[in-house]
């Protein structure tokens, strides 16, 4: 684990270092480009701080074992890319249903299917949110720098522990393989799951306003019932009643929805009063931000908006922006975040700059801004 200081570091390594700083105690993974460096680094560093590392037989197993380890009280994590992320969807849904804190890093690459393994893409934005069956919400963070690969990994652990939910770090090959300066602070804030208080026996329901029940560990004599089937507050399976399904699934969704204020995070510049606001995220937001700077320098009234937390999406803020100005969505995919932005911005105000395979130049986006203006 790196000491406090400034380093020149690859994004995936910064992610691994963020995990160590956040107190990760268990990592399971399977090799995949362009995410493997996270695993390679942790295989060496995690044991030094007492953490367990295992390379599993596949991504189904990786996701399964981090959930198992989380119930022994360890902060757990895996990292993968598109094909592996697809395999993880089953047990990602299980983690949602059983309210198991864990962090899943997806260093997105160009898809669909095997696609282009070393090239960046952000075509998994909807999958991160809707990839597993049934109604649910989860949290996904979108870093755009090596610094954010570090910071957002720490925040991903904190949110997972705070809300007893899986959190996806939705990176891309651009930020994963980028090397730049990262500053590691001494005083990184970390959060641990709420443990049951004396006499508290409901681990799967709560009257608390934050909707988060306490979480015990295996081996504490609680005779825990953890199940992916619909269950009552004490964990008992209930595969038929309306009340059980309605109470549980509604609370799981509300747990994210009603805590938006604490979870949401974005960056914006002149988003209030511009003729055009460029909306972008991930590595694409870097040239997009450059293009906005250039446009403003040239005297154009252009703003910038970047969701740092992409799920839950800052829909109210997007709606507000779309009411007052034109929006140019710049993204490294054709379908990534588009439907969500279309939902918030009136079609006559919405323009798209999409790109596949690699980042465009600042000038390319700048030219598009001028066209749209």
């Amino acid at each position: 684990m790196k000491e406090k200081g400034e380093y020149f570091m690859e994004g995936n390594i910064a992610c691994a270092e963020g995990a160590l700083k956040a107190g990760c105690g268990f990592y399971a993974g399977y090799p995949i480009t362009p995410a493997s460096e996270v695993m390679n680094h942790l295989s060496e560093e995690l044991p030094k701080v007492g953490g367990r590392f295992i390379q599993m037989e596949d991504e189904l197993g990786s996701m399964a074992s981090i959930v198992g380890a989380s119930w022994t009280g360890l902060k757990s994590m895996t990292a993968t890319s598109g094909p592996g992320f697809s395999l993880m969807q089953e047990n990602l849904g299980y983690a949602v249903m059983t309210e198991t804190p864990c962090v899943v890093v997806n260093v997105q690459r160009a898809g669909p299917s095997t696609g282009q393994a070393t090239k960046p893409g952000t075509g998994d934005v909807m999958q991160a949110r809707f990839g597993s069956q049934g109604d649910y919400e989860l949290i996904a963070l979108s870093p755009n720098s090596v610094q954010e690969m570090f910071d957002f990994t720490v925040r991903a652990f904190n949110l997972a522990e705070r809300y007893r939910t899986p959190v996806v770090l939705l990176a891309d090959a651009g930020v994963g393989h980028m090397r730049e300066k990262v500053k590691i602070r001494e005083d990184v804030k970390t959060v641990k799951r709420r443990r049951p208080e004396e006499g508290e026996r409901e681990f799967f329901d709560t009257d608390r306003e934050d909707h988060v029940p306490p979480m015990p560990n295996f081996g504490e004599g609680e005779e825990l019932l953890v199940t992916g089937s619909t269950h009552l507050g004490d964990g008992t399976r209930d595969t038929s009643s309306f009340e059980a399904q309605d109470n549980l699934v509604r609370r799981l969704v509300d747990k994210i929805e009603d805590n938006r204020e604490d979870i949401e995070d974005w960056e914006e510049h002149h988003a209030e009063d511009s003729d055009l606001v460029v909306v972008s995220y991930g590595s694409m937001s870097r040239p997009a931000r450059g293009a906005v700077r250039k446009a403003r320098k040239e005297g154009h009234n252009v703003g910038f908006f970047r969701p740092k937390v992409i799920w839950p999406s800052p829909e109210k803020r997007l709606k507000k922006i779309g009411e007052n100005s034109k929006v140019l969505l710049a993204e490294l995919s054709l379908r990534g975040y588009r439907m969500e932005v279309e939902r918030s911005v009136p079609s006559e105000n919405l323009h798209i700059f999409d790109r596949l395979n690699s980042l465009p130049t600042v000038d390319k986006i700048y030219d598009n801004i001028k066209e749209v203006l």
Binding site: F26, L46, R52, E57, S62, A64, S65, G68, G219, V226
Partner: protein
């Protein structure tokens, strides 16, 4: 030794049983509970991990221990995380033949290869019972099932032999007819520091029974007649298939953590 009533009180949660009349599921639960009672284990140390299917419902919610009822086929992978997470826990996996050897076959192979310390009980009724009796990797050649109305064109999977070849520390096979032997074998599994795999041939009077026109009791009689503790007969061998000493995964990983300067506690 506790009386049956006391075993039930101590180890079984009072839920209505989901098992059909004559099912072997309850006999497995009984055997596991009695073996734990005979061993030095406290039930607070046990985590019972299961997947999907009738067998997965044996521990969850009925066994009065920590339970992790997971997704179809993945129980061994979840259990690996639990064991590596806390070495002091005694991890028991209860899985059907479809769950364990079909959809979960890859995790089974690698759990055995890793020789991770857990006890896997494969409850083998030879088909997918919960979903109506479809063909499984353990169904005999030519056998009729719901999805092999013309007979099984494929051949059955000798899971215990495969697990043995994959390197598990302890492999055995018994049936629900052999409750006493099974209890002893479960005790052995608890004592084994490594991957223990016990195949338990278990009657399903509802699916197999209906096809073969046999009651649960008749199927137990069939196990009695068609199994042997002698490996040199044509009958199904019951007993220990393999017991080898090899490095156990959790032990190895905890040692490496200590050598790297970390504290696994």
């Amino acid at each position: 030794m506790l009386k049956a009533k006391d075993i039930k009180e101590k180890y079984v949660r009072s839920h209505p049983s989901p098992f059909c009349p004559g099912c072997g599921g309850g006999m497995v639960l009984n055997s596991l509970s009695r073996a734990v009672e005979k061993s030095k284990l406290s039930k607070d140390e046990i985590v019972a991990v299961s997947g999907i299917g009738c067998a997965a419902w044996i521990p969850s919610p009925h066994w009065r221990v920590d339970t992790l009822h997971t997704t179809h086929g993945r129980a061994i992978a979840f259990a690996t995380g639990v064991k590596l997470g806390n070495q002091d826990l005694e991890v028991m996996v209860v899985s059907g033949d479809g769950d364990c050897a079909g959809i979960g076959g890859n995790h089974l192979l690698h759990g055995a290869r890793n020789n991770v310390d857990m006890n896997v009980f494969m409850i083998n009724n030879g088909l997918y019972a919960m979903t109506g009796g479809q063909v499984a990797p353990t169904t005999e050649h030519d056998e009729e099932t719901l999805t092999t109305p013309y007979g099984n064109p494929s051949s059955s999977f000798e899971a215990a032999e495969v697990v043995k070849a994959a390197g598990a520390g302890h492999v055995a096979r018994w049936t629900t007819y052999h409750m006493n032997e099974l209890i002893e074998e479960v005790e052995k599994a608890i004592e084994t520091d490594g991957f223990s795999f016990i195949e338990i041939l278990t009657q399903c009077p509802t699916r197999t029974g209906k096809k073969k026109n046999m009651s649960g009791l008749e199927m137990l009689e069939w196990y009695k007649e068609n199994t042997s503790k002698d490996q040199d007969t044509e009958k199904i061998y019951v007993g220990t298939l393999s017991k080898v000493d090899k490095p156990e995964l959790t032990e190895q990983i905890y040692r490496q953590i200590k050598e790297a300067g970390g504290d696994p506690k």
